[in-house]
């Protein structure tokens, strides 16, 4: 069986959907962040699959984009986890359904 672009994109889509499900349904803010990271990873698999299989002038662009996505994901994780710690200091919880800012 020949592995094609479609195989990798299917794995990427399923991983993205799993990350979306986790990010939307989990209660703990750290678990929500795990879902976001899974979605970013799924996007990286898709970018590298296109870079490997698609007919392109400069396939290295996909690799460069993945490098930037990894950088931004690291920065985002650091800020998000600092936010979680800051919210915990004020609220004693990081459950996303208990930290609404408008209603008390």
């Amino acid at each position: 069986m020949t592995l094609e672009l479609e195989h990798f994109l299917t794995v990427s889509a399923l991983l993205f959907a799993m990350g979306l499900l986790i990010a939307l349904s989990k209660r703990n803010a750290v678990a929500v962040l795990m879902g976001v990271e899974l979605m970013l990873n799924a996007a990286n698999i898709a970018l590298l699959a296109f870079s490997r299989f698609a007919e392109s002038e400069s396939p290295i662009a996909g690799h460069s984009f993945v490098a930037f996505v990894i950088t931004v994901a690291a920065a985002e994780a650091a800020v998000a986890l600092a936010l979680a710690a800051a919210v915990y200091r004020n609220r004693e919880t990081i459950n996303v359904d208990q930290i609404g800012m408008v209603e008390t």
């Binding site: 020949t2 592995l3 094609e4 672009l5 479609e6 990798f8 994109l9 299917t10 794995v11 889509a13 399923l14 991983l15 959907a17 799993m18 979306l20 499900l21 986790i22 939307l24 349904s25 989990k26 209660r27 703990n28 750290v30 678990a31 795990m34 990271e37 899974l38 990873n41 990286n44 698999i45 590298l48 870079s51 490997r52 299989f53 698609a54 007919e55 290295i60 662009a61 690799h63 460069s64 993945v66 490098a67 930037f68 990894i70 950088t71 994901a73 690291a74 920065a75 985002e76 994780a77 650091a78 986890l81 600092a82 979680a84 800051a86 915990y88 004693e92 990081i94 459950n95 359904d97």
Partner: protein
């Protein structure tokens, strides 16, 4: 890509990655969820190797497994009285519907489109990536370094305790 080894690697990595992602969803403890997440990251790094992106696979393991997963464990340990049961909110049913819908649409589009593909691997290594990052993409590269500095400063500002802030004002 039609070798026997490629097929074995692809299907093993698929089940490993998606199974571990399901484990993140199903684990009843936040610590177990982070451990499953590490397995998922390693599986994704395996996909990177399979797609002949060796440098990015190493970067994936160093940054995701070495930094982000450990950072998540730190965040869990820094919130000792918060819930650790990895429970869902009331939004579970709509989230399942939305995730299934998104996956269906993407997979339908993937198989419906006529991609113009090439069989041969472009054979890119870390050398080409470094060349591209420092010639074609040098401006985004600089912006990324500014972003990292800003994120570092922002994270430190957010996590400072009120006592430290009061000390600065004196």
């Amino acid at each position: 890509m039609d070798g026997f080894g490629d097929n074995v690697a692809f299907w093993t990595l698929s089940f490993l990655t998606l199974g571990a992602a399901g484990g993140v969803m199903a684990a009843r403890s936040l610590f177990h969820a982070v451990l499953f997440l590490i397995v998922t990251f390693i599986g994704v790094a395996g996909f990177f190797v399979l797609l002949s992106a060796d440098f990015l696979a190493m970067a994936q393991i160093i940054i995701y497994v070495g930094a982000i997963a450990v950072l998540m464990l730190f965040a869990i340990l820094l919130t000792p009285r918060a819930d650790r049961n990895n429970a869902e909110t009331m939004m579970l049913a709509p989230a399942v519907l939305l995730a299934v819908a998104v996956a269906t649409v993407i997979i339908f589009v993937v198989y419906d489109t006529n991609w113009s593909t090439v069989a041969a691997s472009p054979g890119l290594t870390g050398r080409e990536l470094g060349d591209a990052l420092l010639s074609t993409w040098v401006l985004p590269f600089q912006i990324a370094s500014v972003l990292l500095t800003a994120a570092l400063v922002g994270a430190i500002m957010l996590i400072r305790s009120p006592e430290e802030e009061a000390e600065d004002e004196r």
